[in-house]
Amino acid sequence: MSDNAVQIHVRPEFENNNLGKAENVDIERPLSVFERIANINAVRKLSILLGLLFAWEAYTQIAEVEPLLFPSFSASAGALWETMLTGEMPKKIWVTVEILLVGYAAGLGCAAILLTWAVLTRVGSDVLATLTSMFQPLPAISLLPLAMLWFGLGASSLVFVTIHSVLWAVALSTHVGFMGVSETLRMVGRNYGLRGIPYIFKILVPAGFASILVGLKVGWAFAWRTLIGAELVFGALSGEGGLGWMVYEKGENLDTTYVFAALFMVIVIGLLVENVLFRNVELKTIAKWGMQR
């Protein structure tokens, strides 16, 4: 036993004598009308949006920017309205969206086949892992020159690159999700005697749905970017197509107002898919099931 085992260190009492007089500030008061309005999220964001638009319009009007280089907001909105009325814009939108839908659906189909194989056998799982690690880093757009060689200058080349951009993102994410499904859930499935396809759709898909949704979102983002890019490249070579082609063609002809109109539509479609479509799917599935806060 050492001596200092019984030593007790007592800290000296510390007293703060410098406490000033406590001030009485507003503890509770009704917010002014302005403060209450500024607390509404939507109002703040909308006014920022309006402010940006106003700054754009004022900048182009006051600085007298060459409209060919940077058109004013009103001119761009006018161009958008005009192309909507003449039916040019809806036609272009439909061309792009149609290719996107076909490519997305076909990509999902291919991914589903590969995944089913991967779940059922170890060889399939290895093949999927090898393929995704090889093709996921490859930008789909770089396959466009080859696609044009194989399928000619037409919609099928675009569908090919769209499939490529969707397939690997979805397959990778879904596979990771399936592998993360807990052993308990798997055993519940086996206990019910589920095998093969019913096992995948009744156990793995619902349990891995959060990852599947991430994969679908990433796949959409890549597909949308690839498709617009592919239409631009096409623009340089052939001469028909959807929104991307419109951006390119109008840019070439220095119809800059129409370029901005087309860009605006690209943004609107992107927003609709991401914030309306996927958001709703999320709310109706993983948010409702309590898998995501």
Binding site: R44, K45, I48, L49, L52, L68, L69, F70, R122, V123, D126, A129, T130, S133, M134, F135, Q136, P137, L138, P139, A140, I141, S142, L143, P145, L146, L149, W150, F222, W224, R225, T226, I228, G229, A230, L232, V233, G235, A236, L237, L243, G244, V247, Y248, K250, G251, E252, L254, T256, V259, A262, L263, V266, I267, I269, G270, L271, V273, E274, N275
Partner: protein
Amino acid sequence: MPEEPAIKGELHVRSEIVNEIGQAGTGEVERRLSVVERLSNIDPLRKFTILIIMVVVWELYARIGEINELMFPTFSATGTALIDALVNASLLVNVWNSLKLLLSGYAIGIGIAAILVILAVGSRIGSDLLTTLTAMLNPLPAIALLPMAMLWFGLGPGAIIFTLLHSIIWPVALNTHTGFQSVSETLRMVGGNYGLRGLRYIFKILVPAAFPSILTGLRIGWAYAWRTLIAAELVFGGQVVDTSGQLGAEGSNSGGLGWIIFESQMENQTPYVFAGLFMVILVGITVENGFFRNIEEKTVRKWGMQKA
């Protein structure tokens, strides 16, 4: 109140079920794995075999099917083309050209994103501005801005860097901002307790705490930027064909990887297209598995923020 049963006092006794158990078969409870089984349990070996099989199938298909080399070259032709391009045509210079653009765009983009996010952390107006901008511009594919960029900055690296910036800023800013917002109140208060404010608060508390989302943002930014760069070089390729232009024509080595792919395809040298694609894959794998994986190991994994 639960409904009262009609008859009281009657007990339902389930009849005893006796399951006739057959003779238990004694299977192999434990045995040594054969050599083949042990080999096939090695993960890299299996994947490598699959890779080799795919290459063999490719080679056989192209040879036996007598596919036109212009449409689908054999693996050996692609390999030869790759070596030839690396040795004689200095393909690495083209790779470096692409990477140089990408790196400068990435660095500037992260800088701009950092400024936006710092503004957003500092004030409510900044935060609103950032969310509005990202919500609007994130869904816009950067490549769609290329025609405007070519108009504003001319046919040159300026236009490409502008589009790259656009593809990097929004995903990085968006992910960093959401990451910052979900930093727990406890950690924030620890920072406040230490008297950290402004930049020191951001870099000592928010950045480490939100590092997983920041890393995700950086990864997405890289993926978009890499795709945008290749696409932009392809579009430039189309421009150059029209206008006997600027990016590739002034010397065989001035373009990037996308341009090489485009040029080889225009000259019907399909094996070189495949060689270019191979380099694209290689760069992608190196950055994703080499670079980002390493950062992940050294930060979020080491700190225990992410499981294997």
